[in-house]
């Protein structure tokens, strides 16, 4: 399993003048992008995805500016009617857009009219565009763009990702700029906070990223700025901080030197658990019957030593679901909390219930063995450990404990499909 943590490490540099021979290259790129957005079948790895994935970082940086400018042009009704400035994500100030000659202005006017017709307005373009870039980030991840030409502008925040596995650093690499692109597009939806598609897109993409253990806090925080009281986003934020508190993440952070560590938003274990509790409590307050949120809240409270509170949250999780996966986690965690409270009978019952839900799982039997051993029942301890050792499966599906940190993104694919269906049905 890989986990990635994102961080902004580079910011704006000013645009350099284009060589004369390529003076309309930016415009052709913009026109091709509009065509790619129109032709893209949501959820499919088609030519639009391939062509967009093949854009170099330099091309994408330029396209970012020009797309933002195109959207402004659409808002003000055409080239002749407005002065365009572009607000850069890496810089709070607005920067003047490029100067365009008469030929470019005419082509832009045509493009504005075409977009208005093909996409029924800005919402149609930005939603379909966001879906295209989402698919590039997800489906086009293995497509390698050509070597970068010299970067003429560096307007998109550069997200460096530290990949690690089993508590060890693996590599540094760039996060997909297409997530940024999609967010920028959706920021142009009229009243995004009231738009169901935008909300559903954040739910789906956050779940997908979490399921892939890409701990992309900036993405989640951006969604929360738009939907500050959204239970799902609060829940996912809580889960992310819970994961940040884990041994795997904390160990990797400790292996970084001070200079490297300050790029990452990861605090110490205690502070991360505090943040996790805070977000999960808000999620539960927003939606009291939210089984996943109650489950994770119970787990976090237990890790913070608040065992009685943890039992209450885990009981609430159990009462709110009949999903065997969530029930398994709830019973496993309840067993641990009851044991911490020295309620040994309740602990054993909870572990036994967990074992009955996933008979091939090792964790409940390890727990039962340890509990029996603690109570002086060596025969019981040996019987339970025998059950563990008779279950040498390495299949992660056999013991959901091994994939607990992925479980809150388990329905990501279904959520993405719903977003795609919605956009295909009603792009505006």
């Amino acid at each position: 399993m890989f986990v990635a943590v994102a961080v902004v490490v580079s910011v704006l540099s000013t645009a350099a003048p284009q060589p004369k021979a390529d003076q309309y290259a930016w415009l052709e790129r913009l026109e091709r992008w509009v065509t790619a957005v129109a032709d893209h079948e949501p959820g499919g790895l088609d030519d639009s995805v391939t062509e967009t994935a093949m854009l170099s970082r330099g091309d994408l940086q330029t396209l970012w500016l020009d797309t933002a400018a195109l959207l402004k042009l659409m808002q003000c009704g055409g080239v002749s009617r407005c002065r365009i400035s572009v607000k850069l994500p890496s810089d709070k100030s607005a920067q003047p857009w490029r100067r365009v000659d008469k030929t470019a202005a005419e082509r832009l006017e045509r493009l504005v009219r075409e977009v208005a017709t093909r996409f029924h307005g800005i919402n149609g373009l930005v939603k379909r565009g966001a879906v295209l870039h989402t698919d590039v980030a997800i489906l086009g991840a293995d497509i390698t763009p050509p070597a970068n030409p010299p970067v003429v502008s560096n307007v998109v925040p550069d997200q460096v990702v530290l990949r690690f596995k089993d508590g060890r650093q693996q590599s540094y690499e760039h996060n997909s700029v297409h997530w940024e692109f999609a967010r920028m597009l959706l920021d142009h939806v009229s009243r995004p906070a009231a738009d169901d598609m935008v909300r559903a897109w954040y739910h789906a993409t956050v779940a997908w990223l979490q399921h892939k253990e890409n701990l992309y806090l900036a993405h989640l925080e951006h969604g929360r700025q738009i939907f500050p009281n959204d239970a799902e986003l609060l829940f996912q934020l809580g889960c992310m901080h819970e994961t940040y508190a884990s041994v795997g993440v904390q160990t990797v952070m400790e292996s970084l030197d001070h200079r490297q560590r300050r790029f990452f938003d990861v605090q110490g274990r205690r502070a991360e658990l505090e943040d996790a509790e805070s977000f999960l409590k808000k999620a539960v307050a927003a939606q009291p019957s939210f089984a996943d949120a109650n489950l994770h809240l119970g787990r976090v409270l237990g890790l913070r030593g608040r065992h009685a509170d943890a039992v209450a949250a885990l009981d609430a999780a159990k009462a709110a679901t009949d999903d065997p996966l969530l029930l398994y986690y709830a019973e496993l965690f309840l067993g641990a909390e009851h044991e911490a409270l020295r309620h040994f009978d309740e602990a054993r019952q909870a572990f036994e219930h967990a074992a009955s839900l996933y008979p091939a799982a090792q964790s409940p039997y390890l727990a039962l063995s340890q509990l029996a051993h603690r109570q002086g029942d060596r025969a019981g301890a040996l019987r339970a450990i025998d059950s563990v050792l008779q279950r040498p499966s390495k299949d992660e599906a056999d013991d959901p404990w091994w994939i607990y940190t992925l479980s809150h993104g388990r329905d990501a694919d279904a959520r993405l499909r719903k977003v795609y269906e919605r956009v295909a049905r009603d792009p505006s």
């Binding site: 060890r168 040994f344 063995s369 340890q370 060596r378 025969a379 050792l389 992660e396």
Partner: protein
């Protein structure tokens, strides 16, 4: 609760009684302590029960038995097989484990337990060492690291038999996958007779350090696995020079933590033994 063993388990006689046949309600309970006594770096030979001074929670006790070499060993080899153990490191692990197996004596037994995110008993505790040899050849690294779960499972394999248990644990990383917590497993170690020697290349082996200290073993922190065979053999050699001392606790409360002090009377000896044991839940 292995630290309190039945008197019926005849120490020094080589009797092997399945632990699940044991009865803990017996009134006569004995505590077993594995003791390494050295002088100027060399093991002291020929000590008798009366040579040992044992203090349990501040109360002097009378050692009844002090066995040396007569009791067959149960060696439980617990190896990290997470994804990071590959190539040369895996070769060194196999070679070191094989060296230990080749040095075992006829009555000794061995088991192989490996772990990634899962815990696997590749070869159960047995005198048929060819099974362990074969299992060593078959293991393949993969997955995360459930060191804490595996350390506990290793202790339980040790407790499945009454022989003297030496548990050798190797890990190259931190725990990222266990269900059991270090606190619970350290608690279990306080109730167990197994002596854990551990070897770590991770640079932060706090759990293994505590586990080794609590059981009277040692932790070896190494940077390279190049000399792992020599290290594993030195562990086996040291363990063979330990005395198994037993006594029936007198004048102390049964439950709770029992702090142990072990000395050799009339000698300026260095003594390595577990610092205590835990009885009751």
């Amino acid at each position: 609760m292995k630290s309190v063993a039945l008197a019926a388990v005849a120490l020094g006689l080589g009797a092997l009684v399945r632990a699940d046949q044991a009865n803990f309600s017996a009134k006569t309970e004995h505590v077993r302590v594995d003791v390494l006594a050295t002088e100027r770096g060399r093991p002291i030979l020929g000590l008798k029960p009366e040579d040992f001074e044992i203090v349990d929670n501040g109360v002097p006790q009378r050692a009844e038995l002090a066995s040396f070499e007569q009791i067959p060993l149960n060696v439980i080899i617990v190896l990290d097989m997470s994804a990071s153990v590959e190539g040369e490191k895996l070769d060194h692990l196999r070679a070191a484990s094989t060296a230990v197996l080749q040095r075992l004596e006829k009555a000794d037994q061995a088991a192989l337990l490996t772990f990634s995110h899962t815990v696997q008993l590749d070869a159960p505790l047995s005198g048929e060492l060819t099974r362990v040899h074969k299992a060593l050849g078959d293991v393949e690294p993969d997955g995360d690291t459930a060191l804490v779960d595996a350390s506990y499972a290793g202790m339980m394999v040790a407790e499945s038999d009454v022989g003297r248990a030496l548990q050798i644990v190797f890990s190259d990383g931190v725990d990222t996958a266990s269900w059991l917590t270090p606190e619970l497993v350290l608690d279990a170690a306080k109730r167990s007779d197994a002596v854990v020697y551990s070897v770590s290349t991770s640079g932060k082996p706090s759990f293994l350090k505590e586990l080794s200290e609590l059981t009277g073993g040692s932790l070896f922190e190494i940077e390279s696995t190049k000399n792992l065979s020599t290290l594993f053999l030195s562990v086996l050699e040291e363990f063979r020079h330990r005395y198994l001392v037993s006594y029936a606790p007198q004048g102390v409360a049964r439950n709770g933590w029992h702090k142990l002090e072990v000395r050799v009377r009339g000698r300026n000896a260095n003594v390595k033994a577990r610092p205590g044991y835990l009885a009751g839940s």
